[in-house]
Symmetry: C3
Subunit: 205 residues, 3 copies
């Protein structure tokens, strides 16, 4: 049951990231093949970098047909529904925020399996959650949004990772912890976006 | 004999990709060292990403002096012959198309050795064949041609990969299959380029 | 003692690279989180690519708390002292040159441990020393300085690597060799920068 929740969130997150990649490719007038490539890269980029850094190879999507079907389905959805995408934008945003939460926790879990320290685990979570979008932006020639983001994005993932270890220290039940952290990342993303909350910039003097 | 054919194609492909990297570096007025770096990165980039993804490390060029000599020779050729390069352009284009075919099949063979499924094998073939050029474009600040390509490029590699498995399913002899697929990728690239055939774009609405 | 010298240089180099990444992030008006990300990526990027290429995973920074503390400290320094940074620029330049020298030798040592040939070892040294800056430039949307560099940079690292093997061939004491090579890279960098010495460009005809 717990495992099934994980799988559903994993697929939803992958699906959302695939849509975000495909939508950007459509916007930039890539050809049909390019749309699938960008959907693929966005959805599996973060997990791939994480797996390569810790040495989990072949990287995990190579053994997961569900993920690949999910990406293809996401890219098709973006192509078919792109004329309604302006209305769908909010759903994409929601799925993206869910994906951000899930991939953060998935990255941390992998780090714990490899017995890495807390700081590294949180870094792995954030890398899993954000590097897919970073690679999408670099490949498609966009300014990388990870760093220039006018919204709270990577920090939402990192603070969710911190919460995970705080709740673990407080001996909160594992399932409750996972759901709490994913919800937290999701809510931080939604709320800071709605109210335009930003991190401070250090002014160059 | 079959092995020798493979090696010749591998070296020809590497040589062509090295020339393409070095030529771009000359065009962008990189210094002499930069020319060799870009030749190197273009020629070994695709295979390196493939090896890292499946966990074949140290990556294969670390144990192949022939490849490195071939890259250095390719970069020197680009430097020496660059005043005739406009005339040589067609030869570079031909070598590049041969390389595209070979690296596609080499990637698929590696995937099969690791017992990965058909879709992943074809992806690995395409990654091997195209990521060298992608990294070349990103490093040198060009718009990545992989996705924006006005010509059929990555899809030529991917369709060659599909043909490989169709012929394998039809129990065609391995050597015939390999030669057919490389020729197919080569011809798709040449013919679509000559007649300006493109993949459709999904218009944003 | 020899080991301690290594560690000090490693930390100094990491510290310098963290400062260079954080300073660029401040200049580009990234938010506070982005500053730490860019400091981190610049300081560990080169070593990470090296480790992934040879298959040393989890990559080395995952087990080194000292390096991470050093990076955080470097980023904080850049934030706090950035109003004096114009005056500090020369110190950053010095630290950066020390880091370039150290990471070159560290990369070569790793290559030797994996019994790779001389050319590959020198390449690994140069990759270790320069890819952090390359990734920094790509992520932050700068023109990559590795290749377009108007100054001698990567070639300083590569020539230091050549010197290492020449001195080793002459059976110079290991510690003397290491210190000589780091000093050599450092001096090549300082002197060519001071006198504006550049590598030749191949003019496109």
């Amino acid at each position: 049951m717990h495992f099934t929740l994980f799988q559903i969130l994993d697929l939803l997150g992958t699906f959302a990231f695939a849509i975000s990649g495909a939508s950007l490719a459509i916007k930039k007038e890539f050809d049909v093949f390019g749309i699938f490539v960008l959907a693929f890269v966005t959805a599996i980029g973060g997990g791939t970098v994480r797996d390569v850094l810790i040495g989990e190879q072949p990287v995990s999507w190579m053994h997961s047909s569900e993920l690949i079907i999910c990406i293809v389905f996401g890219a098709f959805s973006a192509i078919i529904f792109n004329r309604w995408m302006n209305k769908l934008n909010y759903f994409v945003f929601l799925f993206d925020a869910i994906g951000l939460g899930f991939f953060t926790i998935a990255g941390i879990e992998k780090g714990l399996n490899f017995e890495l320290n807390i700081f590294i685990c949180i870094s792995l979570g954030t890398i899993s959650a954000t590097f897919g979008g970073l690679i999408r932006d670099i490949i498609s020639g966009e300014k990388p949004m990870l760093l220039m983001r006018k919204e709270i994005y990577a920090i939402a993932s990192a603070s969710g990772g911190c919460l995970f270890f705080i709740l673990q220290f407080l001996e909160v039940n594992q399932s409750v912890n996972v759901i709490s952290c994913i919800s937290f990342v999701f809510l931080v993303r939604i709320i800071t976006s709605k109210y335009g909350i930003k991190l401070p910039i250090i002014k160059e003097k």
